[in-house]
Amino acid sequence: MKKLLIWLPLALFLLVFALVVNGLIEPSDRIVRSAMVGKPLPALHLPPMLADRPGIDTKTWPKGKPRLLNVFASWCIPCVAEAPQLMKLKAAGVQIDAIAVRDTNPDVLAFLARNGDPYARIGDDRAMRAQLSLGSSGVPETFVIDSRGVIVDQHVGDIREEDVPKLLAALEKAK
């Protein structure tokens, strides 16, 4: 019995060591994902941000074709990084709507002039109400909405080049 007990401290050390190594190799996931994935779009009524296109109103949400709903802001730096990928998606025939979070008309105009303009509609979400309704916890985030108006997927963070095929596949599945 005592001979075995001698090994106990080493065993405990190895246990703690394994725990620490595991934490280093695979840090815990701090992303808060929306619990709205799988549910229909919540009611949103956002006035248009720009004069040349409508805002976001779920009552008149176009169904029959899957769409992307991009949550962005002109003051958000990763949004600049993902802009080229959104332009690629637009070129592939994807309909992209947007929610501009805590933003102003001139700032959004300048942002689109500089980074490209992939959006069919842009809603003005001054008080983050639409963002909170969607269960979105930051910018940028992109929701995949299927042809019946149900949220089927969420991409948290900027869309990178390697995410484009994944989003296209998700849109294909959402038909």
């Binding site: 808060v32 619990a35 919540p42 802001a73 003051w75 930051g138």
Partner: protein
Amino acid sequence: MRRALVPLVLVLAGAAQADSTLPASPLAYTQLADPDQEAQAKALMETLRCLVCQGQSIADSDADMAGEMRALVRQRIAAGERPAQVRKWLIERYGDYVTYDPPLSWVTAPLWIMPLLLLGLGVLLARRLFQRRAA
């Protein structure tokens, strides 16, 4: 010297730009006129997690999003909603992670059951030890 300062200035400029320049909603930093409602809202805010600054409650945080969440809580409480309804609304959107007062489920059950089990174990252990001493 000037050249050495350039990266620092760039870093600071980036940080300054990472938030909106718009003012926060009025209710983010203003209490409700009704003290009862404000007390309810405050108690609720202290048990809701700030999603950008995880580990802080929305009552403690100055992040844009925490401010807007406080405004949302106050608006809904002022409109006559009960704190439990507001909490439920947020859980529906963000999951249990958003509340510091997690509901009882199979995943959280050990949090309540374990202390009781350990206490029972302690009582058993103590009884055996004391019996031995008496004998």
